[in-house]
Amino acid sequence: MRRSERDTTSSGRTLAWVERYRIFLLFAVIFVFMSVFAPRFFNVFNLTSILRMVAMNATVAIGFTIVLICAQLDLSIGTVITFAGVVGLSLKEPLGYALSVPIAIAAGAMVGLFNGVLVAKAKISSFIVTLGTLTILQGAIYTITGGNTISLSTPDAFAVSDFLAGPLIPLITPRILLMLGLVAAFELFLRRTRTGRNFYLVGGNRNTAWLAGINTDRYLIAAFVLSGTLAAIGGVFFAMESSAATLRMGDQSLMYVISATIIGGTAMTGGKGGVFRSFVAVLALEMLYTGVILFGLGNEVKIFIAGLILAAVVLYEAYAYYRHQREIGKRPELIRELAAGTTRAHAAVDAASDGAGGKA
């Protein structure tokens, strides 16, 4: 990290280390604190339930992180979740899950393609495009469902639901396994393959990436398609597990996923962050929420704490950047020389060149 190169003092190095691994530290602190203090927190049942609760949002966060790495924003993920759930379940009766689930996921991918093409080719801001898709999908969801919750109560739907919710081994249900698999796959893809790493280049500096021979438009479109696809996967499997798709099932996810991704260290300016970090952040947030509820505190405390944590992280990052900006170009040693007067400045220059010579 740049900061660790600049700060050579040991406290500076510690700070840089904390900064770099802050999400893992946060996770560890919350986990240990809740395990020790929160009643009924540390047991297989509760931990499984936490994992089951994050399964959807963690899957969605993968795609959102990729979009953010590309320095874009996807506000439509919440409605894509609901849309996929509604499509998957409403087509189950005529077609069966074997067809309806792929159709639902493809629908999510199409939404992503729509977003991506408008952002990359028509050059409309992603904030606008995805805000528009959000509105369109909201209308589509209500038109498909007529405003009612879709719930399936056939034996085979329940069988699928039981399969998805039942543990294969302790802590791991099929849906959790799917989430872990996707997180691992995309983490490796982004870190270890050339295509994956190119996403960081495109997000870091689009012009440089283009000059380096990367088809930036294609990467932007791909990011949105992945975001749509993963949101749809998260949504449709969640709906299958509960055998129901409500009209507002994805509403909370947008804010949740944005918070987690930012807390996880993915920057909105692009080119920085990672899927695994977002996953850990989603997990940490969910543990915190569960803990708050286990302490007997209400939903309002949960909202308040979520806000404070996000605010603290954003404030810290902004302040660090602010300090950094103020120090750029400043030459403290020159100012010190001026303050000390010309004669002693000469001595200082001599001393400095001696020091440099000594090191060399």
């Binding site: 805000l131 509105t135 909201q138 209308g139 038109t143 944005i258 309002e300 308040f304 996000l310 605010a311």
Partner: protein, 347 residues
């Protein structure tokens, strides 16, 4: 010699001359061109007998009444967008908190309660101003976090309660005054929100086009670095933009609370995105430094016009959403394309 070769400033550059006539018309007519198109469409539909009562004074007054609140909130939001900071997502909770505080304090009298409500709104704006203006936090994420915190405070203090004016102890005249914020009509025609919208629009337009602050805001919005190097205090300029957004949100909060006669956490839900829609349709670009307040009010008017026509045709609320979203993307897309073809693209 050199001066003779210099190009006079008002001669358009080559890209402008090559641009299509369509782009130039879009650029000049702006959102009011679209408004005229919608009105023509409505008139034609009425002529064909598809809809009734569209081209009446009553109907147009209704449309303006319906968008007054949105227009007010959008006018403040426009300053944030204009300064190159996308949007203030803490607007809905600012509206809710302003309303709750005002209703809660009504027994101290109408004026103190309203002032306290506005002050609370401005306090949220001040926090945004410091954090986004000075420390340059990402505006979307920060205002989102701010809305969480505000919502948390509302839920902690008032839980899920709806706050009614207390008829037992409060002065009935005070309550009547508060109800009147939304319901008062001057000369039986112009409602107070519409009047406020017009006042805010004129004041905003004046501020943006005729004052030093407006010029500094334009420079900061289009090129912050250049502004800083020219001696503009960009931190302060952006901060004031967030204060203005919080102020209009607080005024909007008073109106929406007066409309529903109850202060509640859900008042104002959705107004952040609605306001952004009006702002952006109205021609203020997200890149900053481009657009006008009058255009933003036009954007709010077009949204009202669109809703009115669709409701008169009998399109369901949910299908309206789909059409609205599509038109939103389309209008902004055409706008961006027009700017690009004129060589004025900075996004």
């Amino acid at each position: 010699m050199a001066t003779a070769e210099m190009k006079p400033i008002d001669v358009p550059d080559a890209r402008y001359l090559r641009s299509s006539r369509f782009s130039r018309i879009v650029n000049v007519a702006g959102i009011y061109g679209i408004a005229v198109l919608f009105i023509i469409a409505g008139a034609v539909l009425q002529g064909l007998g598809v809809i009734n009562n569209f081209m009446t004074t009553r109907n147009f007054l209704n449309i303006i009444d319906a968008v007054a609140l949105l227009g007010i909130v959008a006018a403040g939001m426009a300053f944030v967008t204009y300064s190159g900071h996308y949007a203030d997502l803490s607007v809905p909770t600012t509206m809710a908190l302003t309303g709750i505080v005002t209703v809660e304090l009504l027994h101290y009298g109408f004026v103190p309660a309203v002032l306290a409500g506005l002050a609370v709104g401005l306090l949220i704006g001040a926090v945004n101003a410091v954090v986004v203006g000075r420390f340059r936090a990402n505006p979307i994420i920060w205002t989102l976090a701010m809305s969480y915190v505000t919502m948390g405070v509302i839920r902690l203090v008032w839980v899920n309660r709806q706050i009614y004016p207390d008829v037992q102890t409060d002065n009935l005249r005070t309550i009547a005054l508060f109800d009147g914020i939304f319901r008062l009509r001057l000369f039986n025609v112009v409602s107070l929100p519409v009047l406020l919208m017009i006042l805010i629009m004129l004041a905003g337009h004046f501020l943006m086009t005729r004052t030093v602050y407006g010029a500094q805001l334009k420079l900061t919005g289009s090129a912050r670095r250049t502004a800083t190097f020219s001696g503009v205090n960009a931190e302060r300029v952006v901060g004031i933009a967030f204060l203005l957004a919080a102020f209009t949100a607080a005024v909007g909060g008073l109106i929406i609370t007066s409309l529903s006669r109850v202060g509640a956490w859900y008042n104002g839900t959705g107004y952040e995105f609605r306001a952004v829609t009006a702002v952006v349709i109205g021609g203020v670009t997200l890149a900053g430094g481009r657009g006008t307040i009058i255009g933003v009010i036009g954007g709010a008017f077009v949204i009202g016009l669109m809703n009115n026509i669709m409701t008169l045709i009998g399109i369901g609320t949910f299908s309206q959403d789909m059409i609205r979203g599509a038109i939103f993307i389309l209008v902004v897309g055409i706008n961006a394309k027009s700017l690009r073809s004129l060589g004025r693209d900075d996004a």
